[in-house]
């Protein structure tokens, strides 16, 4: 899964045609770390139809706040650079919820 940061976010997400799923995580966030392997699996399953990237918010705090991400774990879904869906918080942002959103979007 592609790791993006404040330098590459613009090109890899906002300037990308089609669907992009952005996993906002931090190594200190346990729910995020539990979710990550599941997301890696989904990236293999859906990778041909949707681009998966992840952002470590510890190193990209400004970028996160700029995207109005203020809680973890958060998933943002973009289509042609426009945000189309969002899941936020450990109770809401579960592997099942992410997969349901993927199925809806592709």
């Amino acid at each position: 899964m592609l790791e993006v940061n404040k330098e590459t976010f613009e090109a890899e997400v906002l300037q990308t045609r089609g669907l992009v799923a952005v996993d906002w995580w931090s190594p200190k966030c346990d729910p995020c770390c539990e979710l990550l392997p599941e997301v890696e699996k989904m990236a293999t399953t859906y990778g041909d139809r949707i681009k998966f990237v992840k952002v470590n918010v510890l190193e990209n705090r400004r970028l996160a706040i700029g995207q109005k991400v203020l809680g973890l774990p958060t998933f943002l879904f973009f289509k042609d650079g426009e945000k189309v869906a969002e899941l936020s918080g450990a109770e809401v942002c579960t592997a099942e919820a992410v997969e349901a959103e993927l199925k809806r979007l592709v």
Binding site: V57, L58, K68, L70, G71, T74, E86, S88, A90
Partner: protein, 413 residues
């Protein structure tokens, strides 16, 4: 075909993991089902200073040790969400969302609890946009920013202290009059001594406001009724918990008005035979990692005892094709020993037409209660697994021999 286990534990927090440790050590074939990460709420609690022997540690670190301990003992662990249970029959069926099915002879429910929401305007809309229930997860965002903590219990106070490592300022909103908090004394002292923490007493949050992300909270002073607006970047809410038991409401399990599972505080047994409850979802007085672990240990030992009793009952009383004379005795009641001796002689004299079963009521009060035996000694006669007649023998039973013979001579209805 559902895979069968002696013991199925639902929920992998401190209660469930401790139950798994005790189950595995009792050589029970144990399954632990956890839908997300192990450790429950403890896994998202940064500061832990009251787990004996660990000194000052963190929830995630402690829960990692729990998990390693469980894995080391060879407990089968699966990561799935339970969607459906049938707990009333002796063979309890657990189905998961992904469609797996398991059968357990005993079940321990440890679903835990989750943070309670405030229920104020803006709370839902700004979740993940400045409203948080997990300081460990989100504290980093607030480096050099200002945050509000709502609540004044142990969790609120400990998380407020943790947040001071990141935030520029932490303002606690406390519903009680000045000087009163629900948290333990030691933590309160640390709050008062921390220069980054400010306390707004006798006030509640009325509304959370912002434009895309949180910008302020509206506070109401309960003494004066006055409203004021406090600019802030984040709102951390720690106002107690609610049990995660909604999925259990139609199972016949006794829950209290607030949804907590009602279990016997001595054995963790619920109203359903072979079903036990442990941890924060149980109605209890103190909810801590150490009491969750205690619940788990008791529940697993009680489950083991239940399984042994059930096995004994099946083999000795319910399965034999011959009539069974069950003597409910107790080592603490001398008269019951005499009765037991008479019953032994009688059964021997009848040469295999009747079997004898000894039920020690001192050890198995539950089995006695199941067959409505309230006083020891007592005798119950079973035919093909059903009780057909019983006698309390506290005043002695001179006609035991005739009573038994009359039953086995008579044709069974």
């Amino acid at each position: 075909m559902a895979e069968r286990f002696d013991l199925i534990i639902v929920g992998g927090g401190p209660a469930g993991m401790t139950a798994a440790i005790y189950g595995a050590r009792a050589k029970l074939k144990t399954l632990l089902i956890e839908k997300g990460r192990h450790g429950g709420q403890a896994a998202s609690t940064e500061e832990v200073e009251n787990w004996p022997g660990a000194g000052r540690t963190t929830g995630p670190a402690l829960m990692k040790q729990f998990r390693e301990h469980v894995e080391h003992l060879g407990v089968t662990t699966i990561r799935e969400e339970v969607s459906e249970v049938d707990l009333s029959a002796p063979a309890k069926v657990i189905r998961t969302k992904k469609g797996a099915e398991f059968e357990g002879r005993a079940v321990i429910l440890c679903p835990g609890a989750e943070p309670r929401t405030l229920g104020v305007k803006g709370e839902g809309r700004f979740r993940g946009k400045g409203v948080s229930y997990c300081a460990t997860c989100d504290a980093d965002f607030y480096t050099e920013l200002d945050v509000v903590v709502v609540g004044n219990g142990d969790a609120a106070v400990e998380e407020a202290l943790y947040l001071t490592k990141f935030a520029e300022s932490v303002t606690m909103i406390v519903i009680h009059p000045m000087g009163t908090m629900d948290a333990n004394r030691a933590s309160q002292e640390r709050v008062y001594a921390n220069p980054k923490i400010r306390i707004v007493w006798q006030s509640v949050v009325e509304e959370i406001r912002g434009d895309g992300i949180v910008e302020s909270v509206i506070l109401k002073n309960l003494a004066t009724g006055q409203l004021s607006e406090l600019p802030t970047n984040g709102v951390f809410i720690f106002v107690g918990t609610v049990p995660k038991t909604e999925w259990l409401t139609e199972t016949g399990l006794d829950l209290d008005r607030r949804g907590y599972i009602i279990a016997d505080p001595e054995t963790m047994a619920t109203n359903l035979d072979g079903v036990f409850a442990a941890g924060d979802a149980r109605r209890k007085w103190l909810r801590q990692i150490v009491t969750a672990a205690s619940d788990g240990a008791i529940a697993a030992c009680a489950a083991e005892k239940y399984l042994t009793e059930e096995e004994h009952l099946q083999q000795e009383v319910l399965e034999p094709k011959e009539p069974v004379l069950a003597v409910f005795w107790s080592p603490a009641v001398p008269a019951s020993l005499d009765l037991l001796q008479r019953a032994e002689r009688l059964v021997a004299s009848l040469g295999g037409r009747v079997k004898l079963a000894r039920i020690d009521c001192y050890k198995s009060a539950r089995v006695a209660a199941r067959f409505s035996v309230t006083e020891v000694p007592a005798v119950v006669l079973f035919e093909v697994g059903m009780p057909v007649d019983s006698r309390a023998c506290t005043e002695g039973f001179d006609h035991l021999e005739e009573w038994v013979v009359s039953h086995i001579a008579a044709p069974t209805a």
